[in-house]
């Protein structure tokens, strides 16, 4: 749908952007969840482009079988930084801390999150963590890969300690955000928002938060152990002193596998909102979508062993971890089918968020099913640590999470800024990103089949053609992202005024002014319908199925 041709007069006088003040100081010391969310969005977008720059350099290096533009040591640092920046600085915080912060309280009809000061602290912990990690990158960088496998990480001569410390601090930022969201969801829902009327975005973010607070402390401890071992030689993972390097892998993946869901669940949160708004129709299976988020969060804790199939795991372990991993696939499939079914008999407008939704769907299904394929144990033996795995998780991370991030960026751009992006350019950007993405990563699937291990600086010549194809695709992807950045920046200032609800969405967040005032709603709203209901009956009083609001 095209933005409504609204005049400047439609812009509310008093929004969170100009009240209580507009100075830099009022932003840096703000306790307004919307401003904190926006600051997170800006910071994570910078991280996205930094990580993307590293990715491009990696792809250029792999353009030829031998050395191209850097030496092996630089290359190893490059892919480590790419992983660390993208995962800890972009993927994990971008949607929950950015969009989640902005939207979750509004969707709950609350004035703010439960602990606004903690929320600001969380942002500063993010900055501090990022600064420590950046310090490490500038002063030598680490060459361990973002997985920090021992004993390589404990014996490397590069500066791995600042990066570990940075990730540790970032972990606490993540924990505090998660804690805040859980408490907010439990205690701050406005009258009428029962648990079965919670927007699906909130359900998913809630599930994410559970993982954040339960898994992140273990990662923090593990990274500390590596740092202590690297600095002082305490021998926790050192085989020479009886330590077990594989124990590190168990600890690491106990966090880092659920961390995948910390990244994906918020993406699913966005998609659930976008599909309803684009089809102007209620979600097909509300409960199925909502509870499958919790299901993923729960099962996600018991699948970490599938990263260790080639480490000498017993068939028992491998079998159990394999089967449990498939349940994640089932929960995801339930979501996918429900999203598709939502479009049935809808009234679908082809907007940029919808384009990203379709891209997301394709990538998630393909990426997710190759994930299940990897869990079929015997195939994983061939694919483990090859480009197949690289392509698989990029399908989920970039194909899934980044598509959702871009969908969210376009869908809520009017909510956040009060202005509209150019729809035509938006679609061009979406096409470039989706095509570029396919051209980058489909060759990598094939490279993995062919047997090219990941993290290879040079490679035998038979891998050459596919690497060239992948690099070509990456440049298209990069061009798409730069295009998006350009028109988004232009729209911030010169975009047409969006109006109160340009998508005619029924989402709760669109019931407040656009952009919202500092306290979100002029007075505490009372909700009388579900968040994704588009038929007229939705205007009726609350259905009797809705449980009474209670505070558990």
């Amino acid at each position: 749908m095209s933005p409504s041709p609204a005049s400047e007069a439609l812009v509310p006088q008093r929004t969170y952007l100009n009240a209580p003040a507009t100075g830099l100081r009022s932003w840096l010391l703000t306790k307004d969840h919307k401003r904190i969310g926006v600051m997170f969005l800006v910071a994570t977008t910078v991280a996205l482009f930094l990580g993307g720059l590293f990715a491009l350099l990696i792809r250029i290096e792999l353009l030829t079988p031998g050395p191209t533009i850097m030496d092996a040591m630089t290359y190893n640092r490059m892919f480590t930084l790419h992983g660390v920046v993208m995962i800890f600085l972009f993927m994990i915080p971008a949607i929950p801390s950015g969009f989640g912060n902005f939207l979750l309280p509004i969707m709950l009809g609350a004035k703010d999150v439960a602990f606004p000061r903690l929320n600001l602290l969380s942002f500063y912990l993010y900055l501090i963590g990022a600064a420590i990690a950046l310090y490490g990158m500038v002063h030598g960088g680490a060459d361990t890969g973002w997985t920090f496998y021992t004993p390589y990480s404990t014996t490397t001569v590069t500066k791995v300690t600042p990066i570990l410390l940075g990730a540790f601090v970032l972990g606490f930022s993540s924990i505090l955000t998660g804690l805040n969201f859980i408490v907010t969801t439990h205690t701050m829902r406005a009258p009428g928002i029962t648990w079965t009327r919670l927007p699906l975005f909130v359900w998913s973010i809630y599930a994410t938060s559970v993982i954040q607070i339960l898994a992140t402390p273990v990662l923090g401890m593990t990274l500390m152990l590596v740092a202590i071992e690297h600095a002082f030689g305490w021998g926790i993972f050192d085989p020479a002193r009886g330590g077990d390097p594989v124990l590190f892998q168990h600890f690491f993946w106990f966090y880092s596998h659920p961390a995948v869901y910390i990244m994906v669940l918020p993406a699913m949160a966005v998609i659930s909102e976008v599909v309803c708004a684009s089809s102007h129709k209620n979600i097909f299976g509300y409960k199925a979508v909502a509870y499958s988020s919790l299901g993923i969060a729960f099962v996600g804790f018991f699948t970490w062993g599938h990263h260790l199939f080639t480490s000498g795991q017993s068939p028992w372990d491998a079998g159990i971890f394999g089967v449990l991993s498939m349940f994640v696939g089932i929960f995801t499939a339930v979501k996918v089918f429900n999203w598709v079914a939502t479009m049935y008999k809808g009234s679908i407008s082809f907007t940029t968020p919808f384009a990203y939704f379709v891209g997301f769907l394709f990538f998630l299904v393909f990426g997710g099913m190759t994930g299940v394929a990897l869990a079929t144990v015997s195939l994983d033996i061939h694919w483990q640590d090859t480009y197949f795995v690289v392509a698989h998780f990029h399908f989920i991370m970039v194909g899934g999470v980044m598509m959702a991030f871009l969908a969210a960026l376009h869908y809520w751009f009017p909510k956040i800024t009060g202005r509209m992006y150019p729809e035509g350019w938006g679609l061009v950007g979406a096409v470039l990103v989706v095509l570029g993405f396919n051209f980058t990563f489909i060759p990598q699937f094939l490279l993995g089949n062919e047997g090219m291990p990941r993290r290879y600086y040079s490679y035998p010549e038979r891998f050459w053609p596919l690497n060239v194809a992948s690099t070509a695709g990456a440049s298209v992807l990069a061009a798409g992202l730069v295009l998006i950045l350009v028109y988004i920046l232009i729209s911030l200032r010169w975009g047409p005024v969006a109006g109160q609800n340009p998508w005619r969405s029924r989402g709760y967040e669109w019931m407040s002014a656009t952009p919202p005032p500092p306290e979100n709603f002029e007075e505490t709203p009372v909700f009388t319908r579900g968040p994704h209901e588009y038929d007229d009956s939705a205007e009726a009083p609350p259905t009797p199925t809705g449980e009474p609001s209670h505070v558990p």
């Binding site: 609350a110 004035k111 703010d112 999150v113 439960a114 602990f115 606004p116 903690l118 924990i175 804690l179 805040n180 859980i182 408490v183 907010t184 439990h186 205690t187 701050m188 607070i213 339960l214 898994a215 992140t216 402390p217 273990v218 923090g220 401890m221 593990t222 152990l225 202590i228 071992e229 002082f232 030689g233 305490w234 021998g235 926790i236 050192d238 002193r241 009886g242 330590g243 077990d244 124990l247 600890f251 306290e519 505490t524 505070v551």
Partner: protein
């Protein structure tokens, strides 16, 4: 927000009650993350205990069990005094709270004192982690691991004791100054909760390291 709202009520909450509920829930979640922080170390301990059963048992016999026992009694007592302090707060007796919290901090200092004595023993004997391990009576591959984990677990716990002391001191002083009342004493309650957690973790550490 009504004009006669309690001064401690934040603008985004409707009532003090709701705010207290949020704060309690937040604290419990925070305690859950604390427990998981230690769980990683306990899991490492369990794995290595399984791998080096005999060495760990031997090593555990070469540390001062009596210090561990005394410290356990000290900490359990401190939990009791904290509980009394929190109880005082519900009566609106800020001075009483301050007194009992002060007692608790003293007991925590006793705990740290004993811990310092114990650590200096380890340093003299060379019972140190990893490459610093020089203790002759327990050798073998797991021995230095036991002490690495010993220092990690008790060290992390010690840090928590110090944090707990700081929190109790601040809250105790604020109590004495009359910042809390019978209606509003959630911070006192949460500080007490935190201290109970510090105590509880020690209840797990003591048998793991000193007894079995």
């Amino acid at each position: 927000m009504s004009p006669d709202a309690h001064p401690a009520l934040a603008h985004h909450f409707e009532s003090l009650e709701k705010q207290a509920h949020a704060a309690r829930l937040g604290m419990w979640l925070f305690l859950a993350t604390e427990v998981l922080l230690f769980t990683a170390l306990f899991a490492a301990y369990a794995v290595y205990r399984y791998l080096f059963h005999q060495t760990f048992a031997d090593a555990s016999r070469h540390i001062e069990t009596w210090i561990g026992l005394v410290n356990t009694i000290v900490l359990v007592t401190s939990s009791f005094t904290v509980a009394l302090g929190v109880h005082r707060a519900t009566r609106g007796d800020g001075k009483g709270t301050a007194l009992f919290f002060g007692l608790t901090v003293l007991l925590a200092l006793v705990f740290l004192g004993f811990k310092a004595v114990e650590y200096s023993h380890h340093f003299q004997e060379g019972q140190l982690p990893g490459r610093y391990y020089t203790y002759g009576e327990v050798t073998g591959p797991g021995a230095s691991l036991f002490f690495a984990l010993y220092f990690l677990i008790t060290g992390l716990h010690g840090i928590h004791v110090v944090i707990g002391m700081t929190v109790l001191t601040v809250i105790g002083i604020r109590s004495a100054l009359g910042a809390f009342s019978a209606e509003y004493n959630v911070p006192v309650e949460l500080a007490g909760l935190y201290w109970h957690l510090v105590d509880l973790i020690w209840i797990f550490v003591f048998p793991l390291i000193y007894l079995i």
